[in-house]
C-alpha cells in the first residue's frame, strides 16, 4: 500500500435532472497501486463511466460531487488553478469506448495527436507532428508517416483505437483510464488492443483502470477487479479470488448467467431476473435486493456496507453467497418460494 497512486474515498455523484436527482455514484471507494491494472465491471448504468469521468474531471457542471480523490498525494478536486491546465491529459488520461467518436472527424489524426503535444509540452508544429508519428509507431500503427495525414474515417476501427491510445499516451501519463476500449471492435482487434495496452502498461510502468462489461476481459487482463452495481462497488478483490470465490450474489449470478465457450452447446443459462434499478431517488435498501435470491428482510431496510477483508477481498452484502449466512438465506427463501422482495423461486431449486 506504500505505492498507492490513486485513492478514491466515498465518492458520490448526483445529477439533478428534470425527472429527479440521478444518484449515479453512492459512495465509491478504492485504491490503486502504482503499475496496477484495476478492472471495473458492471452492467450498463452501474456507474462505471461516471467514476472514470469524475476522476478525469469530465462531469458536466451540473453534477454534484462529494468524496475525495487523491492522486499521487494530491487532492484531484482541489488542483491549483495554474496547474489545472497541465494536470489532466498529462498525468492522468483516458481512452473512450468508441474509437470512431473519440476522434474529431474533421481533423487529421496527426493533428489531433500533435495538438496534445503542442498544448501541454509546447512543441512546435513540426516537432509535434514528428512526435505524433513516433507515437503512432509505438502503438503499432503501420506506416505512421502516412497515417498522420489521414482523417479518422479513413482508418479501420482497430487503427482508430490505436490513434486514440497514442493520443492518450502523448504526455507519458502515469495513469490511464480505459472506458470499454474494445466494445466496438471485433474480437481479433480486441485482442490486439488489449495486448497493446498490456504492453504499454508494462513498458511505461503505468497504472490502468480498465472499465468493461465483459467479465472475460477483466479476468484475463486485470490484477484487481471491482464489480459495480447501482452506483456502488459491491465486491472487489484480486481477480482470481473474485472469479473463484465470489461473495456478492450479484457477482455470483453474473458469472453464472454468461455462456462459456467450454460448455457444451444448449447448456441452460441461469439468468439474473429483472433489471437494474432506477437511479432516481432509490429507496434505502440493497439495490440488488429485488433481483437477489439471497435477499432477506434486512436487505430491504438497510444498505449493506463493505465487509470482508479490507484491501484483499471486500464485498457489500448481508448474506454473501457461498457462505453459511448466504446459504441459509437462500434456503429460507426457497422454502417459501418467494423472497421478501417478491422474487419467485420455484421449489426444488437451491444451491447447486
Amino acid at each position: 500500500m506504500a505505492d498507492t497512486q490513486l485513492s478514491v474515498t466515498d465518492l458520490q455523484v448526483r445529477f439533478p435532472t428534470d425527472r429527479g436527482v440521478v444518484e449515479a455514484l453512492n459512495g465509491v471507494s478504492f485504491d490503486l497501486e502504482k503499475g496496477q491494472m484495476l478492472g471495473i465491471v458492471g452492467e450498463s448504468g452501474s456507474g462505471k463511466s461516471v467514476t472514470a469521468k469524475t476522476l478525469m474531471n469530465l462531469l458536466p457542471r451540473t453534477a454534484e460531487i462529494d468524496g475525495e480523490v487523491i492522486f499521487e498525494g494530491e487532492d484531484v478536486r482541489a488542483v491549483a488553478r495554474e496547474r489545472r491546465k497541465h494536470f489532466w491529459g498529462v498525468k492522468m488520461t483516458m481512452v473512450f469506448q468508441d474509437p470512431m467518436t473519440s476522434l474529431n472527424p474533421v481533423k487529421r489524426c496527426g493533428e489531433q495527436i500533435a495538438e496534445t503535444l503542442r498544448y501541454h509540452l509546447g512543441h512546435g508544429r513540426k516537432m509535434a507532428l514528428r512526435g505524433a508519428t513516433d507515437l503512432l509507431g509505438q502503438v503499432g500503427v503501420p506506416e505512421p508517416a502516412k497515417r498522420v495525414h489521414q482523417y479518422p474515417h479513413e482508418l479501420s476501427g482497430g487503427l482508430r483505437q490505436r490513434v486514440v491510445i497514442a493520443m492518450a499516451l502523448a504526455c507519458e501519463p502515469s495513469l490511464l483510464i480505459a472506458d470499454e476500449p474494445t466494445t466496438a471492435v471485433d474480437v481479433t482487434v480486441q485482442k490486439h488492443i488489449l495486448d497493446l495496452l498490456d504492453r504499454l502498461r508494462r513498458e511505461r510502468e503505468m497504472s490502468m483502470i480498465l472499465i468493461t462489461h465483459d467479465l472475460g476481459v477483466a479476468r484475463g487482463r486485470c490484477d484487481d477487479v471491482a464489480v459495480m452495481y447501482a452506483g456502488r462497488i459491491v465486491e472487489r478483490s484480486a481477480t482470481e479470488t473474485l472469479f473463484n470465490e465470489s461473495r456478492h450474489p450479484y457477482t455470483d449470478a453474473l458469472l453464472r448467467s454468461i455462456p462459456h465457450i467450454d460448455q457444451p452447446s444448449h447448456t441452460r443459462l441461469d439468468p439474473i431476473p429483472g433489471r437494474p434499478p432506477e437511479m432516481i431517488n432509490p429507496p434505502v435498501r440493497c439495490a440488488y435486493a429485488p433481483r437477489c435470491r439471497h435477499a432477506r428482510e434486512d436487505c430491504l431496510t438497510s444498505i449493506p456496507t463493505m465487509g470482508g477483508v479490507t484491501g484483499v477481498h471486500e464485498f457489500a452484502c448481508h448474506h454473501p453467497a457461498n457462505t453459511d449466512r448466504g446459504d441459509a438465506a437462500l434456503a429460507a427463501n426457497v422454502a417459501v418460494g418467494v423472497t421478501p422482495a417478491g422474487l419467485h423461486l420455484t421449489a426444488g431449486a437451491g444451491s447447486e
Binding site: 469521468k53 478525469m56 474531471n57 469530465l58 451540473t62 491546465k85 497541465h86 494536470f87 489532466w88 491529459g89 498529462v90 488520461t93 483516458m94 473512450f96 469506448q97 468508441d98 467518436t101 473519440s102 476522434l103 474529431n104 472527424p105 474533421v106 481533423k107 495538438e115 496534445t116 498544448y119 501541454h120 482523417y151 474515417h153 479513413e154 486514440v164 493520443m167 492518450a168 502523448a170
Partner: protein, 334 residues
C-alpha cells in the same frame, strides 16, 4: 470532384430550365404581354376593326398611324403571334447569349436593369448575414456553454421572441424608432458613398438579420450541445484542453452543418433581396424591382429576376455543398 461539378452544373441547368419554363408559361398564359407593349391598344379588337364593326381611333381623331398597325407591329416585334413554346425556346436562345430581353416598360435591357439593382441586394444580403452570424455564433456558443442555465434560458426565450416577430413588423418598428423618431439611421436608401450606403442598409440588415440570427443561434446551440456530448470532446477534455479551446477548435466546426444548410437556403433566398424589407425601406434592390415588375406585368424583368435568383439559389447551394466537404472530410471522400 469534376463529376461532382458536372452533376451540380447539370442540376443548375435543369432547375433553371424548370423554373424559367414555369414562369414563362405562367406569365404568358395568364397575362397578356401585348398589353404591356402597346398599352391600351391591347384591348382593341383589331379583327372587329377590320370587319368594320368598330372604329379605329384613327378615324375619329385623325391620328396618323392606325392603331391596328401599331398592334400588328408590336405583335411582330415581340413574336406574340408565335406559340408560347416557341417563344420560350427563342427566349432561351437569347438567354444563352446573355440577353435577358428588354423591359416592356422602359425598354431598357433587363440585364441593365438588374445590374443596377443587384449590388444593393447583395450588399443587403451580406450585411444581413453578417448581422445574423455575428450575433448567432457567439450567442449560440454562449448558450451551449451555459446550457440550461439562466443565461441560456433567457437567450432561448429571446430568440423565440425574435423569431416570432414578423420581419415587416420589426422593420416598421425599427424604421419608426431609429429613423423617424431618433433619426439615428436614415429612413431611406442613400448610396452617395459606400459608408452612407452601409449606414442606410443597417436597419434593413438588422431587420433581416434578427430573425436569421435567432434561427442560427438555436441551430448552433442544439448542434453544439450534441457535439459536446461526443466522445471526442470528452477526449479533448481528458487531454486537458480548456473549454474555450475545445469549443473553438474542436466542437465548433463539426457543429456547423445545420447552420450552413439553413444559411445556404436563406442566402439563396436573399439573393433576390427581401421583397418586403426592400419595400418597407425603399431599397432599390432586385426584390423591389421584381415586385414592381410583377405589379406592372413587366414579364421580361420578372423572368430575368427569376433567372438570376434561381441561379443564385442553386449556386449558393452548390457553394454550401463545397463548404460541407471543407467542413467535413467524410463528405469529401464519398
Amino acid at each position: 470532384m469534376t463529376r461532382f461539378m458536372i452533376n451540380k452544373v447539370a442540376q443548375l441547368l435543369l432547375v433553371l430550365l424548370a423554373v424559367t419554363f414555369l414562369s414563362f408559361s405562367a406569365l404568358n398564359l395568364l397575362g397578356d404581354p401585348l398589353f404591356n407593349v402597346v398599352g391600351p391598344l391591347a384591348e382593341l379588337d383589331c379583327d372587329a376593326v377590320e370587319a368594320g364593326l368598330i372604329e379605329d381611333t384613327t378615324t375619329t381623331l385623325n391620328n396618323q398611324v392606325g392603331d391596328c398597325e401599331i398592334v400588328a407591329e408590336a405583335r411582330a416585334v415581340y413574336r406574340l403571334d408565335e406559340p408560347v413554346m416557341k417563344r420560350y425556346v427563342l427566349w432561351l436562345g437569347d438567354l444563352i447569349s446573355g440577353d435577358l430581353g428588354t423591359s416592356f416598360k422602359n425598354d431598357l435591357p433587363v440585364t441593365e436593369i438588374l445590374k443596377d439593382k443587384f449590388p444593393v441586394s447583395i450588399m443587403l444580403m451580406v450585411m444581413a448575414e453578417i448581422v445574423a452570424l455575428g450575433l448567432a455564433i457567439p450567442l449560440g456558443i454562449y448558450a451551449a456553454y451555459r446550457a440550461n442555465h439562466r443565461a441560456d434560458r433567457i437567450l432561448s426565450v429571446g430568440s423565440f421572441g425574435v423569431l416570432s416577430i414578423p420581419n415587416f413588423a420589426l422593420g416598421v418598428i425599427l424604421l419608426y424608432l431609429f429613423a423617424l423618431k431618433w433619426q439615428i439611421f436614415p429612413a431611406t436608401h442613400d448610396d452617395s458613398s459606400f459608408f452612407a450606403e452601409m449606414k442606410s442598409l443597417s436597419l434593413p440588415a438588422i431587420t433581416l438579420g434578427a430573425g436569421l440570427a435567432a434561427t442560427y443561434q438555436r441551430l448552433l446551440r442544439t448542434d453544439l450541445l450534441t457535439t459536446l456530448q461526443e466522445d471526442f470532446v470528452h477526449m479533448a477534455r481528458a487531454k486537458g484542453m480548456t473549454d474555450s479551446h475545445i469549443m473553438w477548435r474542436h466542437a465548433l466546426r463539426p457543429s456547423l452543418f445545420s447552420i450552413i444548410t439553413v444559411f445556404g437556403v436563406n442566402t439563396g433566398a436573399l439573393i433576390g433581396g427581401s421583397l418586403v424589407v426592400e419595400q418597407i425601406f425603399s431599397i432599390p434592390g432586385v426584390g423591389r424591382e421584381l415586385v414592381q415588375a410583377v405589379i406592372r406585368d413587366d414579364f421580361p424583368v420578372v423572368l430575368g429576376g427569376v433567372v438570376v435568383i434561381a441561379s443564385g439559389f442553386v449556386v449558393i447551394n452548390f457553394v454550401v455543398d463545397l463548404l460541407y466537404s471543407w467542413l467535413d472530410p467524410r463528405v469529401r471522400t464519398t
